[in-house]
Amino acid sequence: MPKLAIVFGSSWFDQHQLLQGIRSVLGTVPIAGVSTAGEILPEGPVSHTCIVMLLACPGLSCSVGLGEAVDRAPREAGQQAAFAAIRDLRGTPRVGLLLFGDGLVTTYGDVVRGIQEVLGTSALIVGGMAGDDLRFTQTFQYANDRVVSQAVVGALLGGSVKIGVGIEHGFAPISKPRRVTRARANVLYELDQQPAASVYEEYFGAELVRRIKHEGLTRQGIAYPLGVQSEASTRWLLRNVVAFSDDGSLSCSGEIAEGAWLQLMIGSRELALDAAHAAAQQAIQSIHHIACVLVFDSALRRKLLGAEHARMEIARIRQVVGQTTPLAGCYTYGEQAPFGAASIYERTATQNGAVLVVALGS
């Protein structure tokens, strides 16, 4: 009997019918999952499909929790999901939480804090944020029999299973570093005491920024994320700009801390492929026997890589994790994983533009 079904469904389907179909086959198996911006099979990326991965092993315990209204009360939503998940897993050693969230919500810092208040700050939290094939209108999360939006779903894994995590983005800084002089949550107001948008304009040109804003390319067109680097870390945390405000501020896909250094990043296909390889290596480092691999890959990377290189990226991961290892994944609007040693992100952070490889095994 499978302990958990992880579902990656295309947003093209009628989501309720999709889940009903899966449920009609799986019976009472707990379900957790998200709608995607593309699905990943061992053979490579696909679109308009539904992937179901079943986890089953004697030492594994799973329970699924749901937290709603992430946009209005993120912290409470995180707590709600963690409570629901932990309730059914009393007495079993906890290994980690697979987190699935709404990719259009930017407040995951608070969600994670909410979860950590229940599970403890040392709990491993990994996962991906739902996509909708780059339409950016509505994403879906699956929790057992429910299809929801603006929600967070946590699948708590317990028992003797081990989770290996590897996350890399492969983007390199290209601009001069700027100090974040004013920011609140995910809104970036000032860089070096100047309006953030004006700095952005400096690099892209006023005309191009006007076009980007006017033509609605903000969210889907730019392959130049912002790289945020705290004093304590040498790694860059990537953030996408999701909206330009009239007051010159930029809304980003995740939290940005004041005082951090910020640089514009640039990606290349080769660096992206190397990053996938490195992430896969990190993930399997501590796993002796790999049972299966989950891949949460940024939708931004799929655009950057193009069809041929996106296929090569999955091939690179398979080279590392083994050609016969079961592998499933999806393209996401955000990747959740521990981030370096940066204390300001409480060890775990929602990242963008990254490829997250999660290896389950023993």
Binding site: W12, H48, R135, K176, G205, G216, G221, I222, A223
Partner: protein, 515 residues
């Protein structure tokens, strides 16, 4: 400057020392003063040098900062160029994916057998590969009706609203009458009907196109894009035009296929009808043929009795029992006898044919020693061969026996040999050859006679057919011999055919099963 102060200081120390007349106290004080001045001078010199080094470092830093800013400027250039390149690459990827989709769609459309099947081929993969997020393809039976067959990213309620709007606003008519695709963009559209179309679809940009084969408007295609940026509307229109043309060709082909299929089905039905009619006619013919055979058989039987009487009385008259006949009477009686014999042969042959046709005669299948069969036949024709001094040869080629009915097969060979002798001139040659041919025995009778004309060949085995040649005009025959031979051979599951060239003789072939 520092050296001037040092010089003045030392000079002042000397003056003080001299003024105090080299007293030890004054000398000591002067010495301390001089040392302090020296230290001061050295420190001042060091400071000067440090300041100079600092100034040089500052210059260097300024240069570095300028270079850094320059690099940052270059980064800006790189980003802008990279952005443009990225967009071009994306557009190229999109075009490539679109073309691949068009190719795949083309292959699918080739096997679309009905026009409505063509309109159900638009799927999510094609729409997204084209870079769109929504798509509708419908069949238009008239200029004011749509039946949507493909809906991508649009539910049936929206599709119904779109149908009503397209028909009411006459947009559909415009789309179906206009062969080129049109892009409607929220930013540029001023027509309220067009704006409502975009609102219903929930997209800022849509390309509309008619599917118009040569036979007239057939359908309507709408594809909408969630974002409006980063794409060239002209390129979109080109792709949609190719797609619409491909669909139009497929509609034409499927209509053609449907017409061909219908025609073929009609033809098949006609063939079946004709076959039925022919089968019925055949049954009727068989019935008639049997009636004919029965009739011939009956008539022949009825004729034989009076004919026997005629022959009998003629023989009695010829024997002189009723008085001696004069020469003219004798000749007439002889003619009566000859004609009566001919008539008897004719009737016998007719009876045999009728019997074989009606299946009343069963052919025995027994091994017949070839030697016996051929020598029996040879005995019968020997006088004629002698009379015309014809060379007669037999080539058995290892064949020792035939399988069949001895009496009937003898008639076959007798008939063929009699014919050969009849048509072979004096000193000619006749050859009977036999050989094994797989599971059959192939027998042939060749002569060096006058041969048979090409026009006579196909009719040779018909009843009462007699070739129109000089010999037939001299020699009387029934015209039933070869017809009878053919019936006998076929009753043995064999075949008979002839090869002949006018003036060069003929060869009759008989193939008989050997097992």
């Amino acid at each position: 400057m520092i050296y001037l102060v040092l010089f003045i200081g030392i000079a002042a120390t000397l003056v003080v020392t001299l003024a105090f007349d080299w007293s030890p106290q004054a000398f000591g004080m002067a010495l301390v003063l001089a040392a302090s001045l020296v230290v001061l001078a050295v420190k001042a010199e060091l400071s000067r040098r440090q300041a100079e080094a600092f100034r040089r470092r500052l210059d260097e830093l300024d240069r570095l900062r300028a270079a850094y800013d320059q690099l940052d400027q270059q980064a800006k250039l790189i980003i802008r160029t990279d952005f443009e390149l990225h967009q071009t690459q994306e557009e190229l990827d999109r075009r490539l994916a679109s073309l691949m989709s068009l190719h795949q769609l083309g292959r699918q459309l080739q096997v679309s057998l009905r026009p409505d099947e063509v309109f159900s081929k638009l799927d999510a993969t094609i729409v997204t590969n084209f870079g769109f997020s929504k798509g509708l393809l419908g069949l238009c039976p008239s200029l004011d009706a749509i039946q949507w067959h493909s809906l991508v990213g649009v539910d049936s309620t929206v599709a119904e609203q779109l149908t009503a709007h397209l028909v009411e606003s006459a947009l559909l008519k415009h789309i179906l009458m206009n062969p080129a695709p049109t892009t409607l963009r929220a930013a540029a559209v001023i027509n309220p009907a067009q704006r409502k179309l975009l609102e219903l679809l929930g997209v800022p940009s849509v390309v509309v196109a008619g599917v118009i084969p040569h036979s007239g408007p057939a359908g309507c295609l709408l594809v909408g894009r969630a974002g409006i940026g980063g794409v060239n509307p002209k390129a979109d229109e080109e792709l949609v035009a190719i797609l619409a043309n491909q669909l139009a060709s497929a509609v034409e082909n499927s209509a053609l296929y449907e017409a061909t299929w219908t025609a073929q089905r009609n033809l098949e039905q006609k063939v079946q009808q004709r076959t039925r009619e022919l089968a019925e006619a055949n049954v009727q013919l068989l019935r008639l043929n049997k009636a004919k055979s029965d009739f011939v058989s009956m008539v022949s039987h009825e004729l034989r009795t009076p004919l026997a009487a005629i022959k009998g009385y003629a023989s009695l008259l010829a024997s002189g029992q009723f008085g001696t006949l004069g020469k003219p009477q004798g000749e007439r009686i002889e003619k009566i006898e000859k004609q009566a014999d001919l008539l008897t042969r004719l009737i016998n042959n007719l009876l045999d044919i009728a019997r074989i046709e009606s299946g009343r005669v069963t052919m025995e299948r027994r091994p017949i020693p070839l030697e016996d069969l051929l020598s029996g036949v040879h005995d019968l024709v020997h006088p004629q061969l002698q009379a015309k001094q014809i060379r007669y040869t037999v080539d058995r080629d290892g064949v020792t026996e035939l399988l069949g009915d001895a009496q009937h097969l003898q008639r076959v060979f007798l008939n063929l040999l009699s014919n050969a002798i009849k048509y072979t001139p004096e000193h000619g040659a006749i050859r009977v050859a036999l050989k094994r041919d797989g599971g059959s025995v192939l027998a042939s009778v060749s002569d060096t006679g006058c041969g048979i004309s090409t026009e006579d060949l196909p009719k040779l085995f018909q009843e009462f057919y007699r070739a129109n040649d000089a010999i037939n005009q001299q020699v009387r025959g029934t015209g039933l011999g070869l017809a009878l031979v053919k019936r006998i051979v076929e009753a043995h599951q064999g075949q008979i055919w002839v090869r002949s060239e006018h003036g060069k003789g003929s060869t009759f072939f008989i193939s008989l099963p050997a097992t």
